[in-house]
């Protein structure tokens, strides 16, 4: 019996240790690097020539960059959902999902921080925000809370990695040389003693408690960047809850997609089981319904009153220039995934993967629809403005930078998955109710 357990432990370690990239992995990584380089070149052009290379103007001063920023902030919220909320509510089946969600959170919040700098015409002036920042401005709150969330997410990922790092140091023949120095630098002091474990557990519990309000803050404050600005479509008291619910949905959708991909690529079917997809499917349906409820609130109430400035904005969304994109985002981002996942068959891995991809894509376009149409419909009438100011479509530089940032976030996840186990080996071995 003891031998069987030891063999099982070896198998777990063998299965979950980070693996070298195969051909597909190399092609995937190279593709991401190329997209990132194109984005970097476009950003170089923007730095050299200024924001004139974008199609932003007097009215649409927040374009695809800010919608991308909101998307990254939203998806980063998943770290708190899966790790913190599931841990505090003692959800046992969370083990194979926590590391994935922590990696997504770290990569997303990194690029949320970067993309906001990209939106600045003079990025070197960022320092002025700290030198002369006004505490009254929600932008200042956002900078503070994003920085805080980044630190907490990184800390959470690191502290949960410590026992796995020890395992990887021990299994250096299996892991290979490339990262052995890094592992030693990161966690050679971890011996796994009872005293260390006790302190680590306390630290994780504190982190899980603190990350939830910070995560709520990060998305609420991001929503306040809009809601504290008097504009049609943003003038809402509901915006904080609306953003948080949307963030939970896209975060969970992102985890489902990553679960499916890692399961297939690393052959983790024994660890990320159909049961996990079934459970995540139920959560995703609940979150999609919740977000749909907030969407109904956000659009139905102003549409019922149809105040003049709101009317123009809503007409553009429902039947005008943005109607195709709007209904696409609603259907793909919420309604179709709900229909897929509400049935038991729809909560199997492949349909869940498709639903997850839909949720993520729908969420990206939803952020674009939150930012851009509102800016095109200001309360004050446009006066002596060129016709091109009444429309916005990102320039190739904007697309390249935005896609480069998305590729960058995926690259971070890919590299983290190459260096560290995507499922906690230590937790899988010690879990009271192992999933294997």
């Amino acid at each position: 019996m003891e031998k069987q357990n030891i063999l099982s432990a070896d198998k777990v370690i063998h299965d979950l240790l980070p693996q070298k990239f195969g051909l597909r992995g190399k092609i995937w990584t190279a593709t991401l690097i190329i997209i990132c380089l194109i984005g970097a070149y476009a950003y170089f052009l923007q730095l050299r020539d200024g924001l004139v290379v974008t199609n932003m103007g007097d009215y649409v001063s927040w374009g695809i960059y800010i919608s991308n920023f909101v998307f990254f902030v939203a998806i980063s919220l998943v770290g708190s959902l899966i790790t913190a909320i599931f841990r505090l509510t003692d959800v046992h089946w969370r083990t194979p999902l926590t590391r994935i969600s922590e990696m997504i959170a770290v990569s997303a919040i990194t690029f949320a921080s970067l993309i906001i700098i990209v939106d600045m015409g003079r990025p070197e002036r960022l320092v002025n925000l700290f030198a002369h920042g006004r505490l009254q401005s929600p932008i200042m709150w956002d900078v503070v809370v994003i920085g805080t969330y980044f630190c907490i997410s990184l800390f959470l990922l690191y502290i949960t990695l410590l026992p796995d790092i020890r395992i990887m140091i021990k299994a250096k023949e299996m892991v290979g040389k490339p990262f052995s120095k890094l592992y030693r630098w990161l966690g050679s002091y971890w011996k796994g003693t009872e005293a260390q474990e006790k302190i680590r557990n306390r630290a994780i519990t504190i982190l899980c408690i603190i990350i939830i309000p910070v995560a709520f803050c990060i998305h609420t404050v991001t929503s306040w960047l809009f809601a504290t600005t008097y504009r049609p479509g943003w003038d809402s008291t509901n915006f904080g809850a609306y953003f948080v619910s949307g963030a939970f949905l896209v975060g969970a959708g992102g985890v489902v997609v990553a679960m499916y991909v890692f399961r297939r690529v690393y052959k983790l079917e024994q660890y990320i089981t159909e049961r996990h997809f079934e459970k995540m499917g139920r959560i995703l349906v609940m979150l999609a319904l919740l977000y749909l409820y907030f969407n109904v609130n956000e659009y139905l109430v102003p549409a019922f009153k149809m105040k003049k400035p709101e009317e123009t904005h809503l007409s553009e969304l429902f039947t005008g220039e943005f109607a195709t994109l709007f209904w696409f985002a609603i259907l793909i981002g919420m309604i179709i995934p709900i229909i897929i996942m509400v049935f038991k068959k729809g909560r199997r891995p492949l349909p869940m993967f498709i639903a997850g991809v839909m949720v993520v894509i729908g969420a990206w376009f939803k952020r674009y629809l939150i930012v851009t149409p509102t800016l095109l419909h200001p309360f004050l009438p446009k006066h002596d403005a060129p016709e091109r100011y009444s429309h916005y479509f990102p320039s190739w530089q904007e697309w390249a930078i935005a896609m480069g940032s998305l590729a960058g976030a995926l690259l971070i996840i890919t590299l983290l998955a190459r260096m560290f186990p995507v499922i906690s080996i230590y937790k899988t071995l010690t879990d009271e109710t192992p999933q294997k």
């Binding site: 002369h132 920042g133 006004r134 505490l135 009254q136 709150w141 503070v144 805080t148 630190c151 907490i152 800390f155 502290i159 410590l162 050679s188 002091y189 971890w190 011996k191 003693t193 005293a195 260390q196 302190i199 680590r200 306390r202 630290a203 504190i206 982190l207 603190i210 910070v214």
Partner: protein, 297 residues
């Protein structure tokens, strides 16, 4: 009989219509445009009088000023010796004429005058005359105030045979001077002087904004009076309220500069930041503790 009445009515109507059309056709063919030449007398603050001459004609149902019209203004008779001033009208069609000092003796000797303006004929207009008959008059404003009421007393006097006598039945407007016009002091639009040339009007505008010291200007005036013209007097009274200047601009507020952040916001923000970052630093200390434990083994 009824039919006959109807027939005769129709014939009469047709004849009138034809006649009107014929007369209309004749008039449009030969006549020049009609010119209005108005002469108004003004005496502000019982001080230096002047005459305002306006030239107007109707174009597209609107009265507009006539420019480049030669107009001469005379005192009493349209003779060269009585010529006060000649002028060429400007685009507004208005000209303010002051009485030259050479007319001082004539002016001081008489109580009543006639100002005559003559517009010379040109291609568009025939020669046109306008005149204003004026009796010398003056307005005095006085006030009295009890605990409950504030009254404005206006006396109007006119010169008759070298003596100032009360001007009765003169219609006056009594108002407070505001930025964009005059605000009546009570419910009445106008007031009329009694046999003593006096009128008392109650001031009913409480809490009216004044200047920095709470003063504002009362105005009593006649408007296009048949014989007195347009005369008015003003008086400064301390019946208003001084404006309270908003000095909150430099206070701590959400819209102030960074150095004037509201204290409650500073307290809240720093409490949260210290709370969260204090916890993070505590977690870092736990990490160092773990590290220390690991090294001792």
């Amino acid at each position: 009989m009824k039919l006959l009445k109807n027939k005769s009515g129709s014939i009469l109507f047709t004849l009138l219509l034809v006649g009107t059309v014929c007369v209309g056709q004749d008039s449009t063919g030969t006549e020049k445009k009609a010119l209005q030449l108005n002469v108004s007398y003004y005496l502000p603050q019982n001080n230096i009088p002047y005459v305002l001459v306006t030239t107007k004609t109707k174009v597209d149902r609107k009265f507009i000023g006539v420019k480049d019209l030669k107009v001469s203004v005379y005192l009493n008779d349209p003779t060269d010796s009585n010529l006060i001033q000649s002028f060429q009208s400007n685009a507004t069609g208005e000209e303010r004429i002051y009485i030259p000092t050479s007319f001082k003796e004539v002016w001081d000797a008489a109580s009543s005058f006639t100002f005559i303006a003559v517009a010379a004929a040109n291609k568009e207009f025939d020669e046109t005359k306008g005149e204003a008959q004026v009796t010398k008059a003056k307005i005095e404003i006085d006030t009295n105030r009890t605990d409950e009421t504030k009254n404005v007393i206006v006396n109007v006097k006119q010169l008759q045979k070298g003596e100032w006598v009360p001007a009765k039945d003169v219609e006056l407007k009594i108002a407070v001077k505001r930025s964009l016009g005059n605000l009546p002091i009570g419910d009445e639009e106008t007031y009329t002087t009694d046999s003593t040339g006096s009128v008392t009007a109650e001031f009913k505008r409480d809490s009216l904004l004044g200047d920095n010291k709470g003063n504002f200007i009362l105005v009593a005036r006649t408007e296009d009076h048949e014989t007195l013209g347009n005369i008015f007097a003003e008086k400064n009274v301390p019946w208003g309220t001084a404006p309270k200047i908003d000095k909150s601009f430099n206070n701590r507020s959400l819209w102030a500069t960074s150095s004037k952040t509201p204290v409650w916001l500073l307290f809240m923000a720093y409490s949260i930041v210290i709370g969260v970052w204090g916890t993070i630093f505590y977690l870092v200390s736990l990490l160092f503790k773990i590290k220390k434990l690991g090294k001792t083994l």
